[in-house]
Symmetry: C2
Subunit: 343 residues, 2 copies
C-alpha cells in the first residue's frame, strides 16, 4: 500500500495552510465555496481518507456510547446492557463497555477512557459515592456529554436516572416472609452508602414496623454479593442466642451461599427457614430448590436508559434541560425457598 | 470556563502554521529547538491542553485495549476478561469491551468501533468464520494494531492465539462416560465451522473409536448454548428407537436444559443417564445435582492472551514477527451428574 495522503500533503499540493484544508473538509462556512471544492477534489485525487476519529473530534459525534458497570459477570448487568444495545443498535450506535470491579479509581479511569474515545454519552451504574468521582462526572457534563445513571445512581444536577422501586420490592419480600410465618427475619445488605441498598433496607424496616416486629441490629449484616459471603453471614447468624428463621438477602449470590450453609448444618428450607434473594439471577430458577427473588426488570431498565439518552442527545432546545427520574416496578417471584404452603 | 485554546490560536499568536505548532507539540525533529520551546511556552501561557485522543492520533498509543466476545453474560467470557484486566491494569492499560451476540455484522462493527477509538490492540474470541470478517481483521493488522485470538480462533497469518486443548478435554469427558458404563453417548455440539467445536467433536469421536464404539449420526445434535436448546435436543433424542444413555454437551447451559428435561420425563440421573457439560459455569457446581463439566482455565487464558499482546507491542525488532499459538490444558471435573459409583 502507498502511504496515505494527509491534510499536510493536500495543503502542500495547493499551497494553502493545513488549517484551511481541515476547515474545508469539515464544511466550515469561513472557507469559500471554490476553495472547499478544490480541496475536496484534491483530497479525492490524492486518495485522502478522513480518519473517523479525527472526524469525531471535529463533529463531536462518534456514535459510540460508553456503558460502565461494576461487573459484567452477573446476569443483572449483562441483561441491562442487552436492553441498551437493543434500543441503540437501530439508531446506529455502538456500545462499548467498561467494568469497575467496584473500584473507585477504576471508575474514574473508565470515565476518562470513554471520554478520550469521544463517546457521545455515558450510561453508568455507579460503584461508589465518593465526591471525587462526582467531580469527574461533572467534568463529563461540562463537555456536554450526557450521563445517565441506571440502577445505582447519585444525585447530580443534570443527570437523569432509571431505577427500580427498591423500597417497594424489599417491602413486598419482607411482608411475604412474614406471611409465611417468619418473625425473625435477618437482612443481608450491600454497601448502604449506595442508595439502592439504603432504599431496600428502609423497605425491609418498614415492613417489620407495619407488622409490629422489631428491627434487630444483629440481624442486619453487610455482605458482598458472592456465595462465600452468604455462607459467612449465616455462620454468624447461627451463633446468635436468638437465631433468625428467615433471611431476605439483597444479593442472589449471598442468598445461594446462605442456603448452602443452612443445608450443610441440617436446617430444612423452607420448613424451618425461608430465604428470599434479590436480582432474579438465572440460577435462582435453575436450582432444584428454586430461590425466591426480586426481578428487577433489567431489559426494560436498559431500554429506558437508552431512550432517555436519545431524548437528551436529540434535544435541540438549548434553554431546556432534560432531567428525568424514571422508577420502574420490580416483581417478587415466589419460589420453593420461601413457600411453606406448597410443601 | 473560558474556551480552550486550540493549536490554531497558538499558530495565530505566533504567526506560524498550525502544522508547525502541532509538530512542535509532538517533538517532531524537523522543528528547531527554539521554535519548540517557544510553542510549548505559548501553549502553557494560553492554557492549551492537548486532547488525549488527538495525542493518541499522533503518537499511535492510546493505552486502551479492545476486547471482543460473543457474549458477556456467561462466566466463561467474563472470567477471561477478568484475567486480561488483571494482567494489563498494572501496565496502565484500560480495557474496553464489545459483544457480538454471535452476529457477523456486529463483529465487523465492533472491530471498526475499536479501531476508530484508537485501541493499541484487539483481543478477541471470534463469532463466525466468514471471509468478510477475515478481511476486516487483516485491515487491523495493516494498521499495525496487534490482534490476539482467545478460545475461538481463526488461522490468519500474523495473529497469535491462546486456546485450550479442546480435543483432549472432549476425549477425556467421553472416556469418563464410557467408564461409567455408558455406551450410547449423544453429543451436543456448537457450530462446527468454529474450530473449538470441531476439535471437541473429534475428541468425542476418537474416544468412541478407541473404545470400539460406533459414532451414530442421530446422536450428534447441534444446539445453541442455552437451556431451551438443551431441552429441545433431549426431546429429539428420546424419540429415537435406540435411545442414548448419556450426553456429552459442548455447552453447560444446554447440559442444564438436558438434565431438566430428562428429570421431567422421570429419567434418573446418574443412575439411568449420565450428563457432562463443558465450561464449568458456576451453576454447574451450585446445583444439588451438581453437573460434571470441563474447566477451561479461563483466568489463565485471559492472562496469557494479555501477555502475548504485551510481547507483541514491546517487540522493537521490526524484522521479527511474533506469532504464538499457546494451547492450555483443560480439566475434567467429575460431579454428581455422571458419577454412578458414588451413588
Amino acid at each position: 500500500m502507498s502511504p496515505k495522503a494527509t491534510i499536510y500533503d493536500i495543503a502542500k499540493e495547493l499551497n494553502i495552510s493545513a488549517a484551511t484544508v481541515s476547515r474545508a473538509l469539515n464544511n466550515n462556512p469561513k472557507i469559500s465555496e471554490s476553495t472547499c471544492k478544490l480541496v475536496i477534489e484534491t483530497a479525492a485525487r490524492m486518495n485522502y481518507k478522513q480518519n473517523k476519529l479525527a472526524q469525531a473530534l471535529k463533529s463531536g459525534k462518534s456514535h459510540n456510547i460508553g456503558v460502565i458497570v461494576p461487573r459484567i459477570d452477573s446476569n443483572f448487568f449483562a441483561s441491562i446492557i442487552r436492553g441498551i444495545e437493543e434500543e441503540l443498535y437501530p439508531h446506529k450506535y455502538n456500545v462499548i463497555i467498561c467494568q469497575t470491579h467496584e473500584d473507585e479509581k477504576r471508575e474514574i479511569e473508565n470515565i476518562n477512557t470513554l471520554l478520550n474515545t469521544q463517546v457521545d454519552g455515558i450510561l453508568m451504574s455507579v460503584s461508589n459515592m465518593s465526591s471525587e468521582n462526582d467531580r469527574v462526572i461533572e467534568k463529563v457534563l461540562e463537555k456536554k456529554v450526557p450521563v445517565i445513571f441506571f440502577d445505582r445512581k447519585k444525585n447530580i444536577h443534570g443527570v437523569s436516572s432509571v431505577t427500580i422501586n427498591d423500597f417497594g420490592a424489599a417491602y413486598a419480600a419482607t411482608k411475604h416472609l412474614i406471611e409465611q410465618g417468619s418473625s425473625k427475619i435477618a437482612y443481608f445488605t450491600g454497601d448502604r452508602s449506595l442508595e439502592i441498598y439504603e432504599n431496600r433496607f428502609n423497605g425491609y424496616k418498614q415492613a417489620l414496623i407495619d407488622s409490629g416486629l422489631n428491627l434487630k441490629e444483629d440481624y442486619v449484616i453487610q455482605t458482598k454479593s458472592n456465595v462465600e459471603a452468604g455462607k459467612m453471614a449465616v455462620k454468624k447468624l447461627l451463633k446468635l442466642k436468638d437465631k433468625p428463621d428467615a433471611i431476605f438477602s439483597a444479593s442472589d449470590f449471598a442468598a445461594l451461599g446462605a442456603i448452602q450453609e443452612l443445608k450443610s448444618q441440617g436446617i430444612r428450607i423452607p420448613e424451618d427457614f425461608c430465604v428470599v434473594g434479590f436480582g432474579n439471577e438465572p440460577f435462582t430458577e435453575f436450582m432444584e430448590l428454586s430461590i425466591s427473588s426480586v426481578d428487577q426488570n433489567t431489559m426494560e431498565m436498559g431500554k429506558v436508559a437508552a431512550q432517555v439518552f436519545m431524548e437528551q442527545i436529540n434535544n435541540t432546545d438549548k434553554n431546556s434541560k432534560i432531567e428525568k427520574k424514571v422508577v420502574l416496578n420490580a416483581e417478587l417471584l415466589i419460589r420453593k425457598s420461601s413457600s411453606k404452603e406448597s410443601k
